[in-house]
Subunit: 205 residues, 2 copies
């Protein structure tokens, strides 16, 4: 009897339909401005139906949070395949910044918005979506560190510092605190490359 299988499938399809519209709304309008009523309107169901598939608005957010890290992990992994560790690390950073520029609202909910659980946790759960993603980054740092390419001893410290620098760039950009950038499209890339050379490289021996 494949009925229950179909039911599970249908339920999953509904969840994904909600998530797809939610992603569109969150990314276009932001978290606060996205309303359950508008979301329900778009999938042509009543607002209450949403709550059959998701506990609350936050659970939808959480799912998108995970999807964001799944996407970021893809490009990070791709960058991780480059043989030279330092080149690979640089490409990871480029992928990170590009991701922030391409999906600013995803980046927002992944790194800027208020949430409960910290990402750079001491016991980073390697199975969580964020944990996996950051794990690859820290792994590459360790690789560079082991190869004697970094000056800072502790790879975690190095990871935080590098991440901080590029997150700062992305965050200020996304929040419009870098008005100068909005003139030219390529300035962010320029700053990034400048940063990669002047910061990352000078860490190297």
């Amino acid at each position: 009897m494949g009925i229950s299988e179909r039911k599970v499938r249908e339920r999953e399809e509904m969840r994904e339909r909600i998530l797809k519209v939610a992603a569109d709304l969150f990314i276009r309008e932001g978290y606060e401005r996205t309303t359950i009523r508008a979301l329900a309107d778009r999938i042509e169901y009543s607002p209450a139906t949403i709550y059959i598939y998701f506990k609350d608005k936050d659970e939808i957010f959480q799912s998108l949070f995970e999807e964001g890290f799944t996407r970021l992990t893809e490009v990070i992994l791709e960058a991780g395949q480059i043989a030279d560790p330092l080149d690979s690390l640089k490409e990871m950073v480029r992928a990170h910044v590009k991701f922030a520029k391409t999906y600013p609202e995803f980046y927002d909910l992944m790194f800027i918005m208020r949430i409960s659980t910290p990402i750079f946790n001491t016991d980073l759960d390697p199975d969580s979506f964020s944990g996996k993603c950051i794990g690859h980054f820290i792994g590459k740092i360790k690789e560079c560190s082991a190869a004697g390419l970094l000056r800072i001893q502790d790879p975690t410290i190095a990871a935080i510092e590098i991440w901080s620098f590029f997150h700062g760039l992305c965050a200020l950009h996304i929040r419009g605190r870098l008005g100068v950038l909005h003139q030219s499209e390529t300035v962010l890339e320029g700053l990034m490359n400048e940063g990669l050379e002047s910061y990352l490289l000078t860490i190297g021996t």
Copy 2:
């Protein structure tokens, strides 16, 4: 006839009474969780009274935004009095990070929350609260640059990069994305000093 003077004074006092409570609520509860009704309760007036003194919730936010920059400007100016340009610049950064740690919600609304007008604008209004503050910072960068202490030619680029790095650190910290930091109180300072030496110093020739 000092009546109209008293009226103006009373109006200003009321505004400040509202702002004082608003600051306390915003800083303790955050922007979204702070309600006009709670604010009105605390000053023992009705919610509608708030709207006699402020156009809307956003205008209260704006006022606090300015107050935050007034406070930050104070400590930045103090750091600016140090004779040696590089030491002075370092102290400015320390003051900035310390400010973020001491008044996380002020820092939040100054640098993280969504607002309309960008800070690092091309035509930075030198009379605005944020403009003055950042002006001092960029001024010091220019001083360092003129003294040949910085490698990056464009002082604005240098300012953005340095600001990005330390903002990234502060922002990740405030948003709880640096779980590892919450163990020890001094780790943020450690990372900051590490950053000052490994980043700021390596920019110098």
